[in-house]
């Protein structure tokens, strides 16, 4: 069943008559919930008005230059409504960064929503994920649910998770269905909260309640509103370098605008005569940052590889990247661009280790444990990380200090049908080889089956990429930034090794340590691999039980 709803300009805080600077959709276009419809520019920031629902734009009136205010109807949207879906009149716009819930009844007058009233349950902070698929809906209209009951199950690229209700009550309407894509802040359901939930609600509402009910404090109300209403805060703007700011070629009015938007003029290129920074440059800079094109705006864009129509040369097929590839790709690229990588290659003598492992393999198998070389390598790596703590670190955000980690969570690259995943063995230093082997097996299986949970993919302090099971003699792995080093392992091979009097056949394991040269210098890296080699040669030390 289809129905038509009005597209209403959401609460813009105390802005009125805000100029439309960009129209992002036209009549007939299909939009998804949260898709930007128009871009508005207040004197404080640019913001998109998001679509309230998935649907098709039937009417759309704004043109660039129009002025709109909160509550203005700017168009109509035809939406598909399932039996269980009822559309609320106006979905409250939830600024990103807000926590978990905002009442649909929170009105434009800025009054705090009534505790126990009608509330919208929204998607909480999902970490880095956006556009997550709803794979299960656990509630339907009229259901009475308790706090913590799951509303929906979402599947992120890496894990499935339930979104629990943060208040108890009766579901008035469910706003999503299986297959919908949601992001942080997306509305899931309308709930008539029961009073029992008062405490929770009060906590959650804290920022809203801040607007004091005192009539005398007339001044604070707009200020508080402003804070709430500032949609999509310019969170990623870099801090202002005052010296650079004071020298920027910009007139006082441009400086004022930059201050309001929090822009460091030192980083803005001027498009005016003699490189004068204009108002438009400041706005474009903010817009670029908000849309994630900061590097390009700052003039740091990378040269593009040529775009070629391959079909000119023969038959082609287009295969979309998997979800995991789409996520891991930019991360790998970011690391590759940002970190000065150096790779140290070395060979470790694992003749004794392998002999011992083979002895232990059978009995372990009887206990259900597959004792792989990687378990031993992790053991040796832990010892080496203890010896060289700077390899178990990250560079601080401002690049002025090193964050040394006192924990040893080892990520390992797992090859799956969907792409590369890096599950993490937590507190690997507190596990013996058998426990490590068990953990490796479990996590690998979960990765293959796509059942890894988010925590199992987070927190690594060092990563190992072992391709030894497949082949290769050496490679240059990319550091899993913000870690500072990654150990690549290739296939071991029997090699003649000169022992001073003759060549002996020894099983040699190729190690390739890529590291962030800002943190690790070459000498430290080769000492690390040398130490690692010695540890791998001393299998008994690796087998010693954990104290």
């Amino acid at each position: 069943m289809a129905t038509t709803i009005d597209i209403i300009v959401p609460d813009l805080g105390d802005f009125d008559d805000v100029e439309v600077i960009e129209v992002l959709v036209k009549v007939g276009e299909t939009v998804e919930r949260e898709d930007g419809l128009i871009t508005l520019e207040t004197d404080k920031a640019a913001m998109d008005v998001p679509s309230p629902e998935n649907g098709t734009v039937m009417e759309f009136t704004p043109i660039v230059g129009d002025k709109v205010s909160s509550g203005d109807v700017i168009g109509k949207l035809t939406i598909e409504v399932g039996d269980t879906v009822v559309i609320t009149p106006a979905i409250q716009y939830v600024p990103s960064g807000d926590t978990t819930v905002l009442a649909a009844s929170a009105t434009a007058d800025g009054k705090a929503p009534k505790i126990g009233g009608v509330r919208t349950l929204v998607v909480p902070d999902l970490g880095d994920f956006d556009d997550v698929e709803v794979i299960e809906v656990h509630v339907s209209n009229g259901d009475t649910i308790n706090e913590e009951d799951p509303i929906v199950t979402l599947e992120t690229d890496k894990a499935a998770m339930d979104v629990p209700a943060i208040v108890a009550g009766r579901i008035e309407s469910v706003l999503v269905k299986v297959g919908d894509k949601v992001s942080q802040g997306s509305s899931l359901a309308i709930i008539e909260a029961v009073a029992r939930a008062e405490q929770t609600a009060a906590t959650v509402d804290a920022p809203v309640v801040e607007a004091p009910p005192l009539p005398a404090a007339a001044m604070q109300t707009p200020a508080a509103m402003k804070q709430q209403a500032a949609p999509r805060p310019s969170r990623d703007l870099p801090p202002v370098n005052e010296t650079g700011f004071s020298r920027a070629h910009a007139s006082p009015s441009v400086r004022k605008l930059a201050r309001e938007l929090g822009v460091d003029l030192a980083q803005v290129g001027g498009s005016g005569a003699k490189s004068r920074i204009l108002h438009a440059d400041v706005k474009a800079f903010v817009k670029a940052i908000l849309t994630g094109k900061a590097a390009e705006a700052a003039g740091g864009g990378l040269p593009k590889t040529p775009s070629i129509d391959f079909s000119k040369f023969g038959e082609i097929e287009s295969l979309p990247l998997t979800r995991i590839q789409k996520i891991s790709g930019p991360r790998l690229q970011a690391s590759w661009i940002n970190l000065p990588h150096v790779t140290q290659h070395d060979l470790a003598d694992i003749t004794d280790l392998e002999a011992r492992r083979r002895e232990l393999k059978g009995p372990a198998k009887e206990r259900g444990i597959s004792l792989t070389p990687l378990a031993f390598i992790i053991k040796a790596v832990i010892a080496a990380l203890r010896e060289f703590p700077q390899l178990n670190s990250s560079l601080s955000d401002d690049g002025t200090s090193l964050v040394l980690k006192k924990y040893f969570h080892i990520g390992f690259a797992a090859d799956t049908d969907q792409g590369l995943m890096v599950p993490v063995i937590r507190d690997a230093d507190q596990k013996d080889v058998y426990e490590l082997a068990t953990g490796l097996a479990e996590l690998s299986a979960a990765a293959r089956d796509g059942k890894l949970k988010t925590p199992q993919l987070q927190g690594a302090s060092f990563t190992i990429s072992s391709l030894g099971g497949i082949g290769g003699t050496a490679f240059t792995p990319i550091v899993n930034a913000p870690e500072v080093a990654i150990l690549g392992v290739s296939r071991s091979s029997m090699q003649p090794v000169w022992n001073g009097s003759g060549f002996k056949p020894r099983l040699m394991l190729p190690l390739s340590l890529s590291y962030d040269h800002r943190v690790v210098d070459g000498a430290a890296a080769v000492r690390f691999t040398t130490f690692l080699g010695q540890k791998l040669a001393d299998v008994e030390s690796l087998l010693r039980a954990i104290p």
């Binding site: 404080k44 005398a216 404090a217 007339a218 001044m219 604070q220 707009p222 200020a223 402003k226 005052e242 700011f245 004071s246 070629h249 910009a250 007139s251 006082p252 400086r255 004022k256 201050r259 309001e260 929090g262 003699k274 004068r276």
Partner: protein, 467 residues
């Protein structure tokens, strides 16, 4: 419960304080403005900028009339009615302070009188005992004249406030301190007929100012003043019946002089330490100065400070700009004090004005600059005013050709300097200024000439190409 409460309390109703109060009120805050005096306007309106300018105008008229004698117009010696002159000056002042009272009423600002002291970071107490609870506070309590220590108590030893009182025109006056305030008053009294001597501890008048700016000024005043004693220390003052006996120590000074009046104008001191600011947790530095950030915030986030008691020159126009920033930030706006240049003006005759980088600063900071200077002898307007002693100079960034600073000496230099201030703020270069059509014949042309001189397009003077 406090006797009064407000979102914003402003301490001091000078140009900083009243501007802050007005701006905040215009932004919707409810404001209490406290001042120790009954009339608003602070030092500037009551006993500073404004009354001194009235008297300086009188002085200028006297001097100009006298100067016309050389060109065929004789007025004779002026008869000076000090009482009437003082009356006119007071009228100017009360017109302005009355206007301020009107403006506070229109804005519904609650004005309280008395000395305010902090009780906490959210409350003030007046000396009357009344208390004020505030959410935010702007300290704009200004500065006071420094009196030399150990001076005898004698009505003939006065500060700038006393000098502006103009209770009589002394025969012989000593001005202690060759700064802007001392020289302005010297100017007034000299025109009124007093024999003026100026004594300054440092080796030049207006210490810190580019020396070339003083030359045209000295050329005019040296013949008129009894003595200008630089590098000279006042070692003692003794009141006697004929006058104040002042002893000096310095190579160009007599050992002793007797003066009917001694004006002490050796500087001003910030009032930041007069407010028990420590009770609010506000850190007050040496000499009563309160440090602030670029949003005029003190170390206590709801308390701001502006004007004479924060670092920087003690100038009304600096205070009023800082005031707007503080008020806007207090009202939740993201304002910053981002001005790049604050003009300074000595309203002497000739006036001396400068803005932005000075040559001494440029040398000190190792700035790679160029300088162009236009003597007013090349200005038709200056010649027709009979005032060819002045000049206009501009400093340029060699790389960008933008103007970094400027200075003007001559009548109305204080008005002319504003254009250079705008040019600095706008990042204008020599071509921008030179190609702005300036009206002819005006003194403002000299600014354009100086720019053209740098751009190499000047035709009103012959300047062999340097570059």
């Amino acid at each position: 419960m406090a006797d009064h409460d407000a979102q914003l309390a402003v301490i001091g109703a000078g140009p900083g304080g009243y501007t802050a109060a007005f701006r905040a009120a215009d932004l919707g805050m409810d404001v209490i403005l406290v001042d120790r005096w009954d009339t608003l306007g602070g030092v500037c309106l009551n006993v500073g900028c404004i009354p001194s300018k009235a008297l300086l105008h009188a002085a200028r008229v006297i001097d100009d009339a006298e100067a016309m004698a050389d060109h065929g117009i004789f007025f004779g010696k002026p008869r000076i009615d000090a009482v009437k002159l003082r009356g006119w000056k007071n009228e100017v002042v009360s017109k302005l302070t009355g206007g301020l009272t009107q403006l506070t009423k229109q804005r519904k600002i609650h004005v309280l009188h008395g000395n305010a002291r902090f009780e906490s970071a959210n409350s003030l107490r007046l000396d009357s005992g009344e208390t004020i609870a505030f959410e935010k506070c702007i300290i704009a309590a200004g500065s006071e004249s420094i009196m030399l220590p150990g001076l005898p108590d004698d009505p003939r030893i006065i500060d700038s406030t006393g000098a502006l009182e103009l209770d009589s025109v002394p025969k012989r006056m000593l001005v202690v301190g060759g700064g802007i305030i001392g020289l302005e008053m010297a100017c007034v009294y000299s025109a009124l007929g007093t024999d003026v001597s100026v004594v300054e501890l440092m080796d030049q008048l207006m210490p810190g100012t580019d020396k070339d700016l003083l030359r045209p000024f000295l050329k005019i005043v040296k013949p008129r003043y009894e003595a200008i004693m630089t590098s000279t220390n006042v070692t003692g003052m003794r009141p006697t019946v004929p006058g104040i006996e002042v002893s000096f120590e310095g190579k160009n000074a007599p050992e002793m002089g007797v003066y009917d009046r001694v004006l002490v104008a050796v500087g001003r001191r910030a009032n930041g330490d007069q407010l028990d600011a420590d009770k609010a947790g506000v850190a007050v530095g040496g000499r009563g100065v309160i440090s602030v950030d670029k949003q005029m915030r003190t170390n206590v986030s709801n308390i701001f400070a502006i004007g004479d008691l924060v670092p920087g020159p003690m100038l009304a126009h600096k205070a009023s700009h800082e005031a707007k920033v503080a008020a806007e930030v207090a009202a939740g706006e993201k304002s910053y004090f981002d001005a790049r240049a604050i003009p300074s003006v000595a309203y002497t005759d000739p006036e001396i004005a400068w803005v932005g980088l000075t040559e001494s600063e440029a040398k000190e900071q190792g700035v790679d600059y160029d300088m162009t200077k236009i003597p007013w002898a090349a200005s038709g307007r200056a010649l027709s005013l009979g005032r060819a002693e002045g000049f206009t100079k501009l400093l340029w960034d060699k790389k960008t050709e933008r103007v970094l600073g400027g200075a003007i000496v001559g009548p109305n230099a204080g008005d002319l300097i504003a254009e250079i201030g705008l040019a600095i703020e706008m990042g204008a270069d020599a071509t921008d200024i030179g190609q702005t059509v300036h009206p002819h014949p005006t003194l403002s042309e000299t600014v354009a000439f100086a720019a053209e001189a740098y751009a190499g397009t000047l035709t009103d003077l012959y300047m062999p190409k340097k570059r």
